[in-house]
């Protein structure tokens, strides 16, 4: 019988580690429960980011979150990449290693985007095989995140929630349930986010993600550039109740404010996990609200780019 969170601990409320906050964290040692790193930003570097990471890893639990595994691609798995991932996880004592249910490129190219899969039996079989290989290489359960997506395929024969559910159950992988992504995709693909959360294999859920997104009126884009909106918090309340509570992380990747602002945002989660037994029923209409047009003008001024763009700028004289 599966243990909750596949046996992983609930390590509380964490933040994505970003270079702009290095100095604050090292100087003030804020009371953050844990940090999540973008794996690719630390795998090949021997510069300051790696040095800072090793210091932070001595003081805080670290979890690794990647954007380049391309678990759903039909290109061969990159075993060199996997070995580097494994080595970094060992070096920093990562509690778990996650990536996304997506593909990032084929024919040896990399779009550096989290591209969606058609959800059908063939894709499921293909992805299951690759998850098993990755887990063998890493010698640990992989944790996979539901992506935000902007298209659906005519070749899909099952819902995303069914695909994610079966992938997790058949491989024993963990799930990083991104509550904001559930909301974004539910708006974009006209599904009920509550049903999605209710259908997950809750004991496989190891971690939650929270983030801000951009509402363009006709659709939402997962931009990680602002506060978590109320309907996402309400989904988080539900997800917490369904899972019994798992480690929760806030991502903020664009227009990143001062550290205390980001920290305060994740601490808001306490309001929702402390009162999770309050009726979520009364909040349900909020989940299903369609995006309004109030923010569209702002957002449409430039091309709105979905997460991720994980690049560390050099420090030079």
């Amino acid at each position: 019988m599966l243990e909750p969170r596949l046996g992983h601990p609930n390590i509380g409320l964490g933040l994505g580690l970003r270079t702009v906050h290095y100095q604050h964290i090292l100087q003030h040692e804020p009371k953050v429960d844990w940090f999540e790193i973008i794996s690719e930003n630390y795998m090949d570097t021997e510069g300051r980011p790696r040095y800072v990471l090793e210091q932070i890893a001595e003081r805080y639990p670290i979890v690794m979150h990647g954007v380049s595994m391309s678990i759903g691609s039909t290109d061969p798995l990159d075993f060199d990449y996997l070995q580097k991932l494994k080595q970094l996880a060992a070096t920093v004592g990562a509690l778990w290693v996650s990536d996304h249910i997506c593909w990032t490129g084929v024919a040896s190219l990399n779009a550096h985007d989290l591209l969606p899969l058609p959800y059908n039996e063939a894709t499921l079989k293909h992805t299951i095989e690759r998850v098993r290989i990755v887990q063998d290489v890493l010698e640990r359960s992989l944790v996979l995140e539901n992506p935000s997506s902007y298209v659906t395929f005519a070749d899909s024969t099952m819902s995303e929630s069914e695909f994610v559910n079966r992938l997790a159950v058949e491989t024993g992988c963990g799930l990083l349930l991104d509550v904001n992504n559930v909301y974004v995709s539910s708006v974009n693909h006209d599904f009920d986010p509550v049903e999605y959360l209710e259908s997950m294999p809750h004991k496989n859920v190891v971690q939650f993600h929270l983030a801000g997104h951009t509402n363009l009126g006709t659709h939402c884009i997962d931009t990680h550039d602002g506060h978590v909106i109320d309907p996402v918090w309400e989904l988080y309340r539900l997800a917490h109740r369904l899972t019994g509570g798992v480690s929760t992380l806030l991502e903020w990747d664009v227009k990143i404010p001062e550290f205390p602002v980001v920290h305060a945002e994740v601490l808001k989660a306490k309001q929702f996990i402390g009162a999770e037994t309050e009726s979520t029923e009364s909040q349900k209409p909020g989940f299903l609200e369609k995006p309004g047009f109030s923010t569209a003008e702002d957002a449409a001024a430039t091309i709105t780019v979905p997460h991720p763009a994980a690049y560390v700028v050099a420090e030079a004289e």
């Binding site: 021997e46 040095y51 990399n110 779009a111 985007d113 005519a154 659709h219 050099a314 420090e315």
Partner: protein, 302 residues
């Protein structure tokens, strides 16, 4: 659901061709690169991509198509602030857009994205004026790109922090009779670069939020290294540059001096007088990891 399920690889190849097309997804769908994998017209796109209640299939694909170039151009803007300052945002984006088509990413890391950027600029530059002896404006831009790429590589690569580096006293401790056989081991991050413009000054001014004017041509010999995790650059004379080049090529100090005397018009006495000062500077800048002397009994006899 289509009548005949398509292969996953077929869908991925098609989607990649569509969203990476420089003229947008509509042209991408009709392109040979996409049609090779799935022969579908724009009008029949719902056979592949379904519509939502608020967006049609093309609008949905455009989210990915628009993001592909925008995201990667943004990465290049971050990495090349001086080049962007020199040519302006619009022109920079144009170069970046062309580059991404010529050299799409083949790496899992964005740190590799710009690996060929300066080479691309050189490959696509208009011919220079053959009668003009000095490097032109375009050469300045190419050099800026090469410098900023090098900064990225030095920043991310192995550096002197936390390890041994050559101290001034270690050189002075070498007995005079063995000095000519000594070799200096460079730090892996040490780079020697020659430019036709003082690009380092321009790049530094931009990074310090200045608004520099493009400089006049000037032979510039740069030594680039890293200290305390920050990329450092130092302009040196032609002779000092030649000496460093010889050392980095693995020559013992005696042979390095001979090569410098051969290749430059410096007098031996002048060179000998300068070397002592250079060593102090190089040691302080942590250009070298260690000094090695070829005699097998050197370490024990020290």
């Amino acid at each position: 659901m289509s009548e005949t399920p398509r292969e996953l690889g077929q869908i991925q190849q098609w989607m990649q061709a569509v969203i990476m097309h420089p003229d947008g997804v509509v042209v991408g769908i009709e392109s040979a690169a996409a049609q090779t994998h799935i022969d579908v017209s724009v009008n029949d796109i719902e056979q592949i991509i379904t519509r939502s209640q608020t967006q049609d299939s093309i609008e949905r694909l455009q989210v990915y198509g628009n993001a592909y170039f925008a995201r990667l151009v943004e990465v290049l803007r971050d990495e090349f602030p001086a080049l962007q300052h020199a040519i302006g945002e619009e022109a920079f984006d144009g170069f970046a857009f062309g580059y991404l088509q010529a050299y799409p990413s083949r790496s899992y890391t964005l740190a590799d994205l710009s690996r060929n950027f300066s080479q691309y600029l050189r490959e696509t530059r208009p011919p220079s004026d053959a009668e003009e002896s000095e490097p032109d404006w375009i050469e300045f831009l190419i050099e800026l790109a090469a410098l900023e790429r090098t900064y990225s590589e030095v920043f991310s690569g192995p550096g002197p922090e936390g390890g041994d580096h050559l101290k001034p006293g270690e050189l002075q401790a070498i007995p005079p009779e063995r000095w000519a056989d000594a070799t200096l081991v460079p730090m892996p991050c040490l780079r020697l670069m020659q430019f036709g413009f003082p690009v380092h000054e321009y790049a530094t001014a931009v990074r310090q939020a200045g608004d520099p004017h493009p400089p006049d041509p000037q032979e510039t010999n740069l030594v680039i290294g890293r200290r305390e995790f920050v990329v450092r650059r130092k302009a040196v004379s032609h002779v000092e540059f030649e000496m460093l080049s010889a050392i980095v090529d693995g020559l013992a100090l005696g042979d390095a001096i001979e090569r410098v005397l051969d290749r430059t018009d410096v007098e031996f006495e002048t060179l000998a007088a300068d070397i002592g000062e250079w060593f102090k500077t190089w040691a302080a800048a942590q250009f070298f990891r260690a000094v090695e002397v070829s005699e097998p009994d050197w370490e024990n006899g020290r």
